[in-house]
Structures are given as C-alpha cells and as structure tokens.
Symmetry: C2
Subunit: 374 residues, 2 copies
C-alpha cells in the first residue's frame, strides 16, 4: 500500500500574529513516499554531495557553480560531471540567507485578471528580468487588510523591492521595511501617511479633459459613474469632472453622480437612473474600464443616443458603433516607470522620494462626439 498520508503543510506565510490557538505542529516525518528507487523525494543533492562525488572540497564546487575563477579545467570538468550525474541545482534559499539579496521583487495589485493590470504587470516583469530579478505577485482584491498581509508576506520573503498598487490608505506599516532597505514604489495611487515614490497617471487632468470634450460638443447634463471615492484615482477623476463642469458654469445635480463599487449590477442601475431621471443626462463619463464596458451595454439597449467618454482604453473600442472615445492611460508605462525607479532605489542612485505623473491621452472615436439628443 502506498503511504499517502502526509498532507501539504506549507510554511505559515501570514503576518507573525500570535494566534495562540494551541495548534501543535505535527512532528515532521518524512513527507514523501519513495516512488523512484534511488531517489528520495525532497532529498536533493547539495554541494556537499557533489563535492564528495567529485572528490573535491565544498568550496570548489561553489566556485564552479558560480563561475568564479581559480579552478583548474580538469577539476572543473570533474565537478561538472558530478553536478550532471546528481542533478544538482543550487539552493537559492540558502544563497539568499548568506548574501542578503533575493533578486526578486514583489508586485501587489488589485486584480491580475483586470485587463488594465496585465500590461502593467508585464512591464514590471520585463524590467525585473532585465535586472536579473524574479517577480512575485499577488492580488489584493481591493482589500486593505489583504494588501497588508500580502506585502508583509513578501517582506518576510525578503524581496528586494516592492511595487504596490495600494488598496488601503495607510501604509505606515511599511515604515520599518523601508527603513530596513526594501525599495518601494507605489503605482496608480499614492501611498497613505508615508513618504515614498509614487507613479500615477494624471487622473484629474484626464477626466477634466474628457468631460470638457463632452461639454465642447454641446452637452450640459453629463453623468459621472465612478468607483468608490475612497480610491484615490476615483476621487481625482471625480474632481476632474467637477472642475470641468464648474469651469463651464454648469451646476451639477446630485443625481448625475454615482460612486460606489463597480460591479455590473450597480453600474447598470446607476446608468439607468441617470438616463431616465427628471433631468436625464445626454452624456456619461465613466470612471474606469469596467464601468465603461457595462455602460456601453446599457447604452446599446437604450433608445436615444447618449454620448460617452470613458477613462481607460478598452480593446475593440474602435470597432463598436459608435467607436468609444476614451481617456487612455499607458498602463505599461506606469509599470515600467515604477519598476525602473525601484531598481534605481536599489542602485542607490535615488535620494528623495518623488511623485511622477504620467499624462493621459484623449482618443476620440465617435461616442464622445455625439451631439446631445434632447
């Protein structure tokens, strides 16, 4: 009978909180069964094994593995042979312990599945790769506690740096980490109560320009559907909307603004309400890609044409009827800029934290140029 009783017990990677529930660790017996004769699971060969087999010293193996000079070709050959034969692979955990640097950086974002974060994540990865570092990432699901949990787990892994798209608004918990030398850059939204590098889009200006665009095309009753105002980007975009309206001397009715979670159901209802209320809007400005997509669906089923400008570009926006006018931000540039700054922190090239704002771009495709249909 196969011994398959052991179960996956990873290290507890949570924050070291003393939850003294008295759970006693089961004694760690051999965890793996011996399915391959001659090779025990989990018992990887070490440099010591290689050294023994090659008949050399430990340090010589280390030298060969790391390509350090000072090894005779003949000795090196013997070591390489032993490495091949045993299937040796250097244990980077031990290496990290010794060297201090892990050559990995952490990326905490809201949701990997969101099309906005894909390119951002990829850009960070590219830069990391160029610097020989790996990328560990996690989704906070827009939850401050989960963000903290993730960030601290990454710090426990001793990542060299962190790129964080903050969900919470208080990052003082990161102070000891930053002091201890963890390079940190916030992206998309600023950090809270802490002085750190920040790379953001010009959310205010972008939204203002988008709304101005609608105003320029004759709209006055313009709706705004955005994310929860506690999210910085959402607040900034709202401010852009308000400013554009104010600048144009248009008083804003409360019924034209809807802020909250951006799940399709709420957004759909919000859109319906501002389209059918006592002062129905003739145009809508949407606060992010998810909202835009939902509103497009609503408008597709709406009788009267309604103008639309959305924040964030969306794929195929040009092929819809009409094409969707958007305020586009460059997600890849955000990620790239942040990551590059991170590595400059690690270089020691960077002195003081800075706030970098990347411009947005209005892309007109038709939906924003519809005249008001009263």
């Amino acid at each position: 009978m196969l011994d398959a009783t052991s179960s996956y017990k990873p290290m507890d990677s949570r924050i070291p909180v003393a939850d003294r529930t008295g759970h006693r660790n089961v004694p760690e017996t051999t965890r793996r069964t011996d399915r391959f004769p001659g090779t025990r699971y989990g018992n990887r060969p070490t440099m010591k094994d290689v050294a023994a087999r090659a008949g050399v010293g430990l340090k010589t193996v280390s030298r060969v593995v790391n390509g350090e000079p000072g090894v005779t070709p003949e000795t090196e050959r013997r070591v390489q042979e032993a490495i091949e034969a045993l299937g040796f692979r250097r244990n980077d955990s031990a290496r990290v312990l010794r060297k201090g640097r892990t050559a990995s950086i952490g990326l905490v974002l809201e949701d990997l599945a969101d099309p906005f974060y894909g390119p951002l994540s990829r850009a960070v990865e590219e830069v990391a790769r160029a610097h020989g570092a790996l990328l560990i990432n996690g989704s906070s699901a827009e939850d401050a506690d989960r963000e903290q949990e993730l960030v601290l787990a990454l710090c426990a892994r001793r990542v060299d740096g962190l790129v964080v798209i903050p969900a919470g608004d208080d990052h003082r918990y990161l102070e000891p980490e930053i002091k201890a030398g963890v390079a940190t850059v916030f992206v998309d939204r600023p950090a809270g109560h802490i002085d750190a590098d920040v790379v953001v889009s010009d959310n205010f200006g972008g939204a203002r320009d988008g709304v101005r665009h609608l105003i320029a095309h004759g709209h006055r009753r313009i709706g705004f559907i955005g994310d929860m105002p506690r999210i910085h980007t959402a607040a900034e975009r709202l401010r852009g909307y308000r400013t554009a309206m104010e600048d144009a001397g248009i008083p804003v009715a409360d019924a034209w603004m809807s802020l909250g979670v951006t799940d399709p159901e709420r957004v759909r209802r919000a859109a319906q309400e501002m389209l059918t209320g006592p002062e129905p809007v003739t145009a809508i400005f949407t606060g992010n890609n998810r909202v835009t997509v939902t509103v497009i669906r609503v408008l597709a089923g709406h009788a009267r044409p309604v103008a639309l400008v959305g924040f964030d570009d969306i794929e195929l926006a040009d092929l819809l009827q009409p094409g969707v006018t958007v305020v586009a931000q460059d997600a890849a540039a955000l990620g790239r800029t942040a990551a590059e700054r991170l590595f400059r922190q690690l270089d020691g090239t960077l002195i003081a934290p800075e706030r970098i704002e990347l411009p947005t771009r209005l892309i007109t495709r038709g939906s924003g140029e519809l005249p008001p249909a009263d």
Copy 2:
C-alpha cells in the same frame, strides 16, 4: 556627500552554467548608506536581537512568533513588545532553509498581458492563496529557452510546485526536479517527452464544432488562420478544422490555411489574401483571440460580409455588429483545475499523472451565422 556608489547586484538567478569569463566578484562591502540614524540599512533585527531585548531565549521568541504553545502570557507580552519595538519580521529565507517547504508556487506562462492568461493566472493565485502559498510568475514570451531558464530559476528558489504553460516541446530537463519532489502541472498544452499532469481544453473538438457551425450555415470555402503549428493548441485546432471539412466532404485548398506567428501584420495579410484569392473564402475560422481581433478589423473594412468564428472569447464580442461567434474556453477553470491538482500532488493524494480535458463552448452571436455571400 552621500555615499551612493553601491549598485544593485542581485544574486545571479540564471541556470548554473559555468561561464568562466573570469569576472571577479567585487568584495561585498556594506551596501547601504546610513540615512536613518539608529537603523542601518539591510541590518534587520533577528530573533536573537528580540530575545536579547526581551531578556528571553532565542527559542522562546521563535515560539511566540509562530504561535506555538508553551509560553507564559507574561513572557509572550515581553516578546511581543520587543518585536514591535524593533520592527522584527521573521526571515522566511532562513525558515525555508530549515523547513524545506517554501509555500510558494511558480507559474510560467506566455504573456501576462494577454487577456487569456489574466483570468488563468488569477485562478491559480486564488487556489495558491487558499493553500497559504504565494505565486511567483514569469512570462516565457513563447520562447523555449526562456521557459527553461524561468522554470529552473523557480526550482532554484525551491518553489513547492510549478504550473507551466509550455513554450518548448521537450521538458526532460524537468525530470530531476520532479523526482526531487517539485509538483508539476502543465496547462493549456501538454508536456513534451515527459510523463506529467496536463490540463487542456478540448482544442480539437472546439475547433471542429466551430467549423461545423460554419458549414451548417452553408459555407464551403472556409479559411483558417492560426498560430505556428509547433504550438500544440494550434495544431489541434487545425486538426479540428481539417476534420470538420473532411467530414463534410469539402476539399481544402492550401490557400485557405495560414499558420504562423500571430502578429497583426501577418494575420492581416493572410486574411486579405484568402479574401481576394482565386477561390475567395466566405467564412474564416480564427485560431486564437489575437487573430480574431485582427481579423475583425480586416472584415470591418471589407465590402462583402464574411462569416467568422473565433477560438477564445473576447470582451465586448457581443456588442460588435455583428456579434462575434466564438468557441470559448474557460481560462479560469483551466488555472483552477491545474492548481488544485498541483496541491493534491503535494498532499500526496495523487498517484499517477493524468490528462484532463475541459470542454469548450460555442457561443453564437451572429458573425458565425452569416450566410455565404458569393
């Protein structure tokens, strides 16, 4: 003057190849400047420091940090206080070294920025999280060498398991790793020359059904634009196309099939050619989401209506005119299934490698139901 001469020298995370270029390691001096008085960069407090400050033994600190029983409330309080005061955070590298498990899994995919992989990646992350593990991921950019490099770097980090979307077609290099106990699951495409768990979509059946759908709507001259045939999914989808055509007794002209890299330029040209050739197609079956998007653009500028069925669902496909009929695969389910299987391997619940095939779903929205316009 600030000492900013040190530069980021991460651990070399490449495969241990002896590139004896004789580069000598610069002596590692203190890397960080002392910007914060009283806190040296990189010198984090250890359990020893905490123990000293709390006036207890090293192991007692360990017990408190890990919530192990056997510590007086009073002692625990003192230790917690010291932890707070010093900003101590357990070093997981050392922990890993001692425990053997890293509580992290690796995910190697083609491109994080591809909308198909976002949900997949997210699903893997969710499962990992549920098992207390972190996710490290990297993009292979469809390059076999880069895939191997990434995978081995992850193994050097001693990830507990690997979810791999293979780019290469020979994975024998993974044998020692798997033997050493690294749980491994391949997704989306099977592994090459190696017996391992595989989770794939029914690419053949899906493509066959999609093409049958077009045939059922009266098409006979149907084009196929897909990825390089060395990619397994591409080959399977092509096989589905051929089978559907054959079953219907339709001879396939070479000019109707185009296989190769799926960059927009090539795809655009391929589509143009089969639309204007001597035997112009009346319908096109596209082999993945990128191809589909490009072909939609081509068809949008085409005079005569052409039917289209695409492999992979795409966002907003329902809002285009006409809606795009697709063969949808469930990326999240692929990721979830693979990850769950991975953790069952780690549990010891799983014995023999298996091949799991998830069904695809034909979603009709209009573009596939257009009659042939001759």
